[in-house]
Each structure stands twice: as structure tokens, then as C-alpha cells.
């Protein structure tokens, strides 16, 4: 049975559908999902990847059998050979002018100088400096000595070590929360979701700590480094000029930073990355 639409036609329709999904559907669905005020366009690099993959998928299907190849090439051959009567013939002429014209315009558009910002690659998690690598948050699981000092200081003589440890963590957490709300909330938000009252003022939005791709993927020492040194402490490949993160070592003590980190994970309802035990 002969198809009503040729394989060539199907290929063109498929590419149009994929293009529509990339350019219209994904931006609008994304807008709807994250309640954004406008459609969230697919970045050019990604759009090119998706379109290329669609073309590869089509090329695979078309060249998989001689029959498919023939069916795909026949309309192209007929078109190039010409001889179509009336309107079809004229349409062919128009297409033969338009297609090279379009290719020429795209080539011109790509190479003609114009004002545009360069596309940059940003290293997401730059190498942590050696001095931070082995640091451990002293407040996450306080050592027995620290707990004993706490018992003594707070006059909790009869309390068991484990109970006192939990109490100490709770107390530190409360302090950390206060520090977080005072120093971090304006940008990162009271729920640590990156939606603080000042968030919209930045070109690179503050990190959303609830996102599993942010603080849950790194160890606490990494966060400590980022908080302490801020955007200015980022290496060049991480485009330090893009980050508005202050250098908190000028404002906060190390102890305060650790407390904030403890509270930050808790507020975001995520866990820090822990190196697994080696097998």
C-alpha cells in the first residue's frame, strides 16, 4: 500500500514537530511548571543538540534499508530533475531560488559582526583548595569532649551523652537558623529555595539549595569554602565576576559559618554529600 505522505514528507514533518517542541512547547511547559513570568527558552547549545539528535534519528531510519532510501530520495530526485507542469513547476523554481538564498542568509547571519555576548562555559564545581578539603563540620556530630564541655557549661550534669549531643545540635541549629535568616535569607530565601526578596536583582539568581544539583551534591567542606571566600574566591573558569556572593570571612567567624551550613541544609530539607565507605 502506498503511503499518502512520502518518507521525505514524514522526515520534514518530524523535524518541524521537534523544532516546535524545542522552541515553543518546552519553554511554555517550563514556564507553567516553575511559575515563571515568561516562557523559559531552550538555550541555543541545547536546541542544536536536540535538533541534531532528531536528524541523526531520521538519518538512521532512512538509511536502514534500501527501500527507505529510495522512498526518501525519489521526491528529491524528481524535484531536481524538474518537468513538473503548471504551478508545481513554478513552485520548484521558487524553491530553487529560496533554498540557496536561505542558506546564504543563515551563513551571512552567522559570520556578520554584530553586538552579542559570547557564549560561555562555566565550571560548576571548581576544585576545592587543599586547605579546605579535609574540613569537617564540628557541629554536625559533635565529639564527646565538646559535648562534655557543653554539659558542664549548661549545668546538665545528669544528662546522658547522647541526649546532650542531640541537645547541642539542636541549640547550634537554632543559632545557625538565626544567622542564616539574618545574613543569607535576603538572597537565598527563608526556605533556602533561592527566592529571597533580593533574588530578582541578580543576573545569576542565587542558588536554590532545595535543588538536588546544588548543596546536596557537595560535602560540607565545599560549602564552607564557598561561603567563606564567596564569588571572589572562585577561579577564573567559574566566572567569578558572575557571582554576587559576598566574601563572608570578613563578616562571620568560622564557627558561625559552620552553624549556618548546618541550618542551611536543614532549612532546605536536604542532606550534605558524604563520601561513601570504601568497599
Amino acid at each position: 500500500m502506498k503511503r499518502r505522505i512520502s518518507l521525505f514528507g514524514y522526515a520534514v514533518i518530524t523535524l518541524v514537530i521537534v523544532y516546535t517542541i524545542v522552541k515553543l512547547v518546552i519553554p511554555r511547559v517550563s514556564m507553567w511548571i516553575v511559575h515563571w513570568p515568561y516562557p523559559l527558552g531552550v538555550p541555543t547549545t541545547l536546541a542544536v543538540i536536540y535538533m541534531l539528535l532528531a536528524m541523526i534519528g531520521l538519518a538512521i531510519y532512512i538509511t536502514m534499508s534500501e527501500k527507505n532510501m529510495e522512498e526518501f530520495l525519489t521526491p528529491i530526485r524528481n524535484f531536481l530533475r524538474g518537468g513538473q507542469p503548471g504551478m508545481k513547476g513554478q513552485a520548484r523554481l521558487i524553491a530553487l531560488v529560496l533554498i540557496p538564498g536561505l542558506a546564504g542568509w543563515i551563513a551571512y547571519d552567522r559570520v556578520a559582526p554584530k553586538i552579542q555576548s559570547p557564549t560561555g562555559i562555566r565550571i560548576q564545581h571548581p576544585t576545592i583548595p587543599g586547605q579546605y578539603e579535609k574540613l569537617i563540620n564540628p557541629y554536625r556530630d559533635p565529639k564527646e569532649d565538646t559535648v562534655k564541655v557543653f554539659i558542664e557549661k549548661e549545668g546538665l550534669g545528669a544528662m546522658k551523652i547522647e541526649e546532650a549531643r542531640a541537645l547541642l545540635v539542636q541549640k547550634t541549629m537554632a543559632e545557625g537558623r538565626g544567622l542564616y535568616q539574618r545574613n543569607c535569607r535576603p538572597c537565598h530565601g527563608s526556605k533556602a529555595d533561592g527566592n529571597g526578596p533580593m533574588a530578582l536583582g541578580f543576573r545569576l539568581r542565587p542558588a536554590n539549595f532545595r535543588d538536588p544539583g546544588t548543596i546536596p551534591t557537595v560535602v560540607e567542606a565545599y560549602v564552607f569554602w564557598r561561603v567563606k571566600e564567596g564569588g571572589r574566591g572562585l577561579p577564573r573558569e567559574s566566572t567569578s565576576w558572575d557571582s554576587a556572593m559576598p566574601r563572608w570571612k570578613d563578616e562571620l567567624t568560622d564557627d558561625q559559618i559552620w552553624k549556618i551550613i548546618l541550618a542551611e541544609y536543614n532549612t532546605a530539607d536536604v542532606e550534605p554529600r558524604k563520601p561513601e565507605k570504601l568497599e
Partner: protein, 663 residues
């Protein structure tokens, strides 16, 4: 004879190299390579040595397997094929040894202080290594040169082949222990950085076995694709239909062996990656999110190319199978699934953006597409890709088979085998499910309330067991095909859609457990591969063939695909070699001995691309030369006036047993 001489010379060279520590002047830490950058020289030599090594270690694994199949089925075609694979091997072995000698010389010459330290740790093992190399070379020459003489003592000959594989694997493991020690050293005194452990302790470092597994599988895939390219070149230059048929078949077997190695490879890579992270969180961060993150995007493209190319080759091959038209209509769906999966696989978490794009999406991440860039999404789709590739093989296998004997009439043996395999799988899945149910969160450094996150994967394993029982019961009721599809379908839903999404939750709230989620996905997938294949064997037992296979009727583009696959795997092994070694950054031995040479900086992606491409080009040129030598030697052995060759005759274009052999 020439190989033997070459090997002896090279062994002598290695011996000299091993004695070099005594001759080296440890006061001088670094030297240049003939006035050039010593780091790049070492990089190229080591990479080429590894590429040849991968070929030499990978090919014997399937050469012996094919020989065993030939011995058991008494089909001379397999024997001829195994011999041809071994022919390629003997030439490459000389190259591997030469490069190994050169690498040893260069390392001791250019990095004397570092090698002084390393040989101080491993000197005993180095002698064993040299001895093993000696045993391997003798075994290889005996295996190759006595092939025809031992035709009547096949069992003994196969034993030689197995010994060859054992030697090769142990050699690889020894060399891996050195490389992995440099990444995850053990037995080091904290204050002095001096090695105070034993050689065995140093060998048995945390990354040793993950690296062994990854390289072993990688070598099989590498060897298969390189052999596939050899067959493709011979096919394209074939003068007779008989030759074309033989090389078409050889190309198919090469691709099949490669895919067998490729299928478990992503999981082995994941295992290695997790262990790298466990050993050093900094190394782990650098690898996937830091300086090496973009190389992983390139890796994803290359792996994508391998899976797509292998499937494409298989799909073209369907058209040489009479009866395949019953199944070719499904291929477009597999094509769509694989392309969609690769769209996810290739989506980076962190995107290259212009300033305008950054503003429009509000940052460095796209608010929705960023999730596709996380490990959980990647794990989900890679399992789906593997299952789709498996489905392609399944369709290929049954393409020209009619209806098999109903299972109920296949006798008690079939029933017991099926029940035995199902019981084994149930035991494995059940044990792991039980382990997850009783897993103590403290073992993963997680608080007690996180135990609730362990339940879903455990329950899904029980679902999988139930589905398996249903599939087996349906087979007993002669409804095995439905049972097969049911099991495959449930596997896909479980590992891609349920655990794939669940992984995001685990990532955020119980990250260390993500490894167990990945293990659950992998176990479920492997159980599916085993059970569905077993069912397929029984479902098509005694099935008549629809028509004869027409080997040697493949279009040229299929052969170019095999060559493309070879180029891709060569580039991939080069890239991964760079990543593994580069992760140490400015350390010879991570955290113990710093690299203070002028070339201690981490190469950028541009330099990496140039050096890896150069290595790939040199390797492919050298391999082409070897292939040419092999075919020239073969032509000499087949002079027309001398009649047929001494070894088994060329393969017939079609064979009654062909369909069986495809399984």
C-alpha cells in the same frame, strides 16, 4: 619467528628498565624528553601502550570463546574465525611490548624521583610482572603457532588459550594496581609520607578492583570494535562473494562481542566513579562537576555514538535475514527511544550560555531541563538504552525463525533449566531486597529516620520477582512470548520511570543511598537480560528457519559504521585515560607526592583533544599497518598455485546453523 625475536628483545629491554631505579639519579626530579615536554611524551607513549594493551587483552577473551564454540559445535567456521582473531593478536603483541619497554624507559628517565618512590613500593611486583609477561608471550606463541598442529588436541589448545587469558588479565591487574595506587595510595605514614605498608597492601588499594572491572570490560569492547573494523576493511576490499560472506560474519561477531562488553560498561564506570568519590570527594567533584565535567559531555557523545552505531549496524543487518520483515516495523520505535534517551544523556546540568540566555533563564541552569543533567536521570536512560539495544539483538536473533516447539513439549530438561535459572535470579534479587529492608542507615552515615527511603527499591525487587514468576508460569502455559514482554516491560517501568525519578529524591535527602538505587537498577536490568534470553532460547527451540541467511550482502555504509565504531572507541579510551590520570591534578601520587615539574598543570580541553586525537591517529595508523601485514601474510600463505590454505576453508555464504550461531 620474527615475533619471538622481537619479544625476547623487548623482554630484555623491560628487564633493563626494571633495573633502572638503581641507575637513576634521584637527586634530579625531572628531565625533558629530547628537549620537549616530558609530560606530553609520557602521555602519548602510555596511551598508545594502553590502547595496544587493551586490544591484546580483549581479543583473546573472545578468540578462545569462539574457539570453544567451534570445538563444541564442530563447525570449522568458528575455528577459522578464532584463528583469524589470534593472527591479529600476534602482531599487536609486539607493539604492546615495545611501547611498554619505551614507557618504562621514559618514566625512569624523565621522572626519576617519582619512579624511585614507585619502584620502592612495587619492586617485588615488578619482577612478577616481567615474569608474567614472559609466560604470556610464550603462551601466545604456542597458542598461535601450534593452532593447526594441535587440531586433534583441541582441549589442550583451548587450555593454552585460557592460560593466555589468565596471564593477560593478571598482567592488567598488576599494572592497574600501580595506576590506582597513584590515585588512592594506602600504607603511607602520615607525618613523613613514606610508604610503610606491604606491596600487597599497596596493590589492594581502594580503586584497584573498580579499575580492574572497568578496564576488563572496556578491553572486550575495544577488541571487538577494532576486530569489527578489520573485518569491515576486508569486506570492502573483498574480491569474491565467499570472502564477503566471511568478513560480513566476522564483522557481526566483532560487533556482538563489543556490545557484550559495552552493555555492563556504564555500570562499571559508575562503580569506579563512586569509588573515586568515596576515596576523595575533591577528586569526585572535579570529575563530574568541576574541571573534568566537560570531558564527560564529550564522553557521553562518544558512548552515544557507540550505542547508536552498534544498533544501526544491527538494524541494517536485519535486511539480510529472510523473515525479518515481521520485526523491522518495530525498529523505528527503538530508534525513537534511543534518540530520546540520548537527548537526556547529552543534556548537561550546567549549560554553555550567552549573557542574554543567562538572564532569560535566571541563572546558569535551565529551571526545568537542569534535572536531566543529574546522575539519576543519566542512570535511568542509560539502563533504558541498554535494554533497547538488547531488544534489537533479540529481534535480530529471532528474525528468521518460525514457531518453536511449545515449551510444554520440550521435556523435563528444559523445564528444570528454566526453573533453575529463575530460582538463581530470584535468590539474587531476593537477597538484595532483604539486604535493603534490613539496611542500617548508620552504615551509610545517615540518620535513623532515613531508613524509610530504602523501602521502595526493596519493594520493587519483590515486584520484579513476582513478574519473573508470572513470566515463567506463562512460559509453562506456552505463553512465553507474552511473559517475556511482560517482564521486559516491568523492568523498564521499574528502573527507568520509577527508580529514575526516585533517584532525585534520594540524591537530595539520602545521597549515600543513591549507590544502592543504582545497584538495584543494574541488578534488575541484568536479571531481565538473563531471563528474557533464557526464555527466548526455549521459545525458539527447534524453530524452523524462514529462509537462508544471506551473509555478504551488506551495503557499504554498514561497514563504514563498523569503522566509525572503531574510531569512536579509540577516542573514548584515549579520553577516559586522560580523565583517570588527570584527576590526580598536580600529584604524582595523590596527596603524597606532589608533581612540581613545569608540566604539572591540568591540560585544558583543547590540548586534551589534540593529544587524544594524535594518539588515536597513531594507534589507528599502526593498527592499519598491522592489518595490512596480516592480510599480506595471509595472501602469501594462500598463493593460488598452492591450493587451499592449510587452515579451515573460508566460510560458506550461508549456513543452516547460522541462525543458531547468532544467539
Amino acid at each position: 619467528m620474527r615475533y619471538r625475536k622481537g619479544a625476547i628483545t623487548l623482554l630484555a629491554l623491560i628487564g633493563v628498565a626494571l633495573a633502572l631505579p638503581a641507575m637513576a639519579a634521584p637527586e634530579e626530579a625531572y628531565r625533558t624528553f629530547l628537549g620537549y615536554d616530558s609530560r606530553i611524551a609520557i602521555w602519548i607513549i602510555a596511551e598508545l601502550h594502553l590502547m595496544f594493551g587493551a586490544f591484546v587483552l580483549g581479543v583473546p577473551i573472545f578468540a578462545v570463546t569462539i574457539e570453544i564454540i567451534g570445538w563444541k559445535t564442530k563447525d570449522p567456521r568458528y575455528d577459522k574465525l578464532a584463528y583469524e582473531f589470534t593472527q591479529l593478536l600476534s602482531g599487536a603483541f609486539g607493539f604492546t611490548a615495545t611501547l611498554g619497554g619505551l614507557l618504562a624507559f621514559s618514566l625512569f628517565g624523565l621522572y626519576p624521583k617519582f619512579m624511585d618512590y614507585l619502584s620502592g613500593v612495587f619492586h617485588d611486583v615488578m619482577y612478577i610482572y616481567a615474569l608474567l609477561f614472559f609466560v604470556e608471550s610464550i603462551t601466545l606463541y604456542l597458542y598461535y603457532y601450534l593452532w593447526h598442529k594441535m587440531a586433534k588436541q583441541k582441549g589442550l589448545h583451548i587450555l593454552l588459550g585460557i592460560l593466555l587469558n589468565v596471564c593477560g588479565t593478571v598482567i592488567m591487574m598488576v599494572a592497574n594496581s600501580w595506576a590506582s595506587f597513584m590515585m588512592s595510595p594506602v600504607g603511607i605514614a602520615k607525618d613523613t609520607n613514606q610508604f610503610i605498608g606491604s606491596a600487597w597492601q599497596a596493590m589492594n588499594n581502594p580503586l584497584w578492583h573498580p579499575l580492574n572491572l572497568h578496564r576488563f570490560l572496556g578491553n572486550v569492547a575495544f577488541g571487538g570494535f577494532v576486530c569489527g573494523a578489520y573485518a569491515a576493511i576486508r569486506y570492502l576490499g573483498a574480491k569474491t562473494q565467499e570472502e564477503r560472506a566471511h568478513y560480513d560474519w566476522m564483522g557481526y561477531i566483532g560487533n556482538f562481542c563489543a556490545v557484550c562488553g559495552l552493555i555492563p560498561l556504564p555500570f562499571a564506570g559508575y562503580y569506579l566513579g563512586r569509588e573515586v568519590y568515596s576515596n576523595s570527594a575533591v577528586m569526585g567533584n572535579n570529575m563530574m562537576g568541576g574541571a573534568f565535567s566537560w570531558t564527560f559531555i564529550i564522553q557521553a557523545i562518544l558512548i552515544g555514538g557507540l550505542f547508536i552505531g552498534s544498533n544501526y549496524y544491527l538494524w541494517i543487518g536485519m535486511h539480510r535475514i529472510p523473515g525479518s520483515e515481521r520485526y523491522t516495523k518495530y525498529i523505528k520505535f527503538i530508534d525513537i527511544i534511543i534518540i530520546l534517551c540520548f537527548a537526556v544523556w547529552l543534556t548537561p546540568h550546567n549549560l554553555p550560555l550567552s549573557a542574554e540566555e543567562q538572564i532569560s533563564v535566571g541563572g546558569q541552569y535551565h529551571p526545568t531541563l537542569k534535572y536531566l543533567g543529574l546522575m539519576s536521570g543519566k542512570n535511568a536512560v542509560v539502563n533504558f538504552i541498554i535494554l533497547s539495544t538488547f531488544l534489537s539483538f533479540l529481534l535480530y536473533r529471532r528474525a528468521n525463525l518460525g514457531e518453536g516447539i511449545p515449551f510444554s513439549k520440550q521435556g523435563a530438561k528444559s523445564r528444570w533449566i528454566l526453573l533453575g535459572i529463575a530460582a538463581g535470579l530470584i535468590l539474587i534479587l531476593g537477597s538484595y531486597s532483604n539486604y535493603l529492608f534490613h539496611l542500617n542507615p548508620a552504615a551509610l552515615d545517615l540518620p535513623a529516620d532515613k531508613a524509610k527511603y530504602f523501602k521502595l527499591p526493596a519493594i520493587l525487587l519483590l515486584v520484579q520477582i513476582t513478574a519473573m514468576l508470572v513470566a515463567v508460569a506463562m512460559t509453562f502455559m506456552n505463553r512465553g512470548k507474552i511473559g517475556q514482554m511482560l517482564y521486559l516491560g516491568i523492568t523498564i517501568i521499574d528502573i527507568t520511570f520509577v527508580l529514575g525519578v526516585y533517584g532525585y529524591i534520594v540524591m537530595a535527602v539520602a545521597n549515600p543511598f543513591l549507590r544502592n538505587v543504582a545497584v538495584t537498577q543494574w541488578m534488575t536490568m541484568m536479571s531481565s537480560l538473563v531471563l528474557v534470553t533464557t526464555l527466548d532460547v526455549f521459545l525458539f527451540k527447534g524453530a524452523p528457519q524462514v529462509g537462508e541467511m544471506t551473509w555478504g550482502k551488506m551495503p557499504s555504509r554498514s561497514q563504514y559504521t563498523l569503522i566509525f565504531l572503531c574510531v569512536f572507541i579509540v577516542m573514548l579510551i584515549g579520553l577516559m585515560g586522560f580523565i583517570r590520570s588527570g584527576l590526580r591534578e598536580n600529584w604524582h601520587i595523590y596527596g603524597v607526592m606532589q608533581d612540581t615539574s613545569p608540566g604539572s598543570w591540568t591540560p585544558d580541553n583543547a590540548l586534551m583533544a589534540k593529544v587524544v586525537s594524535a594518539c588515536g591517529l597513531i594507534f589507528l595508523s599502526a593498527v592499519s599497518f598491522l592489518f595490512w601485514l596480516t592480510s599480506a601474510a595471509e595472501k602469501k600463505a594462500h598463493k593460488p598455485d598452492e591450493g587451499p590454505a592449510a587452515h579451515p576453508k573460508a566460510a560458506p555464504p550461508a549456513h543452516e546453523k547460522t541462525a543458531r550461531s547468532r544467539s
